[in-house]
Symmetry: C2
Subunit: 193 residues, 2 copies
Amino acid sequence: MNCLEERILKDGIVKEGNVLKVDSFLNHQMDITLFDEMGKEWKKRFEGKNITKILTIEASGIGIACVVAQHFGVPVVFAKKAKSINLEGEMYTAEVESFTHKNKNQVIVSKKFLQENDRVLLIDDFLANGCALLGLIQIVQAAGATVEGIAIAIEKGFQSGGRIIRNLGYQLESLAIVEEMNCQTGEIVFRKQ
Amino acid sequence: MNCLEERILKDGIVKEGNVLKVDSFLNHQMDITLFDEMGKEWKKRFEGKNITKILTIEASGIGIACVVAQHFGVPVVFAKKAKSINLEGEMYTAEVESFTHKNKNQVIVSKKFLQENDRVLLIDDFLANGCALLGLIQIVQAAGATVEGIAIAIEKGFQSGGRIIRNLGYQLESLAIVEEMNCQTGEIVFRKQ
């Protein structure tokens, strides 16, 4: 059992509607020491990959990506959810549906920050139906760059995102894959890795 | 001249309407090595302060806050801009107007993550009119916690936010204070520190 799985069992809370609350350490309050440990683990799992850039999506992915980036020695780009007057010029766009917020967002990345020779590691906090990841993959492909790997903190193994992404041939490394969770008992079962 | 001022002169772009674009290293693509240097500088400037938590606001503050937090050894909490179905329970709220996006947002912090004995360092990428900071200060005060200091990457010295915040008695440490900038010549003048 790795550091994230242990922490989920300790502090994660199972809510109705297949919601796993990890806001005390992952996506509202953030435990930076944990993020650093996660970075070490991903660095091992992606050994030999020549990553040149990390791409994530606002807001919960940013903190994890920035701490993890120190293990790879590369800059981080985050896809933005709304058009800003500061983000002019040409950009890559994708439409992303949020499981949590039940809405659709246009996400955008400035073309300046993804080059054809970039080998990109995608990072996000959750993988459920895979919409956010598929949007990021689409953006990397539009840039002619390569998705070198995908690092997810928590995958909901009972939703289809992980299967879809693996079937597309990507190296997807989820540190915790939740197979089942029970909001009555609070029990959480992880997939053996 | 510190690392951030040097970088702004090298890669910052002055646009019409008092916009300083720093999206190649600060708030879209993020230079993690620079953030680490900024953390070292703030750690010096806030020496002797017993910080227990860092509070920032999504999205651009998160990356800076998480890397800087490693120098203080504390968790980061970010104020969220919209109500999420995952963020139930009681929360502190404040209304914040964005200079960049010209809109108002309700920002929220779960009451679980700010305690009366917390000594909080506020971090954000920009300080212009001070609305975002005043919102964060309001939230810390509502929790009965203490604002121990405020760390800003870039302050627009020609707008009122910095003066307002310093007049309230807070230790505000902006790494770069832009006194003037000229979108015709591209010239940027920093306040001597």
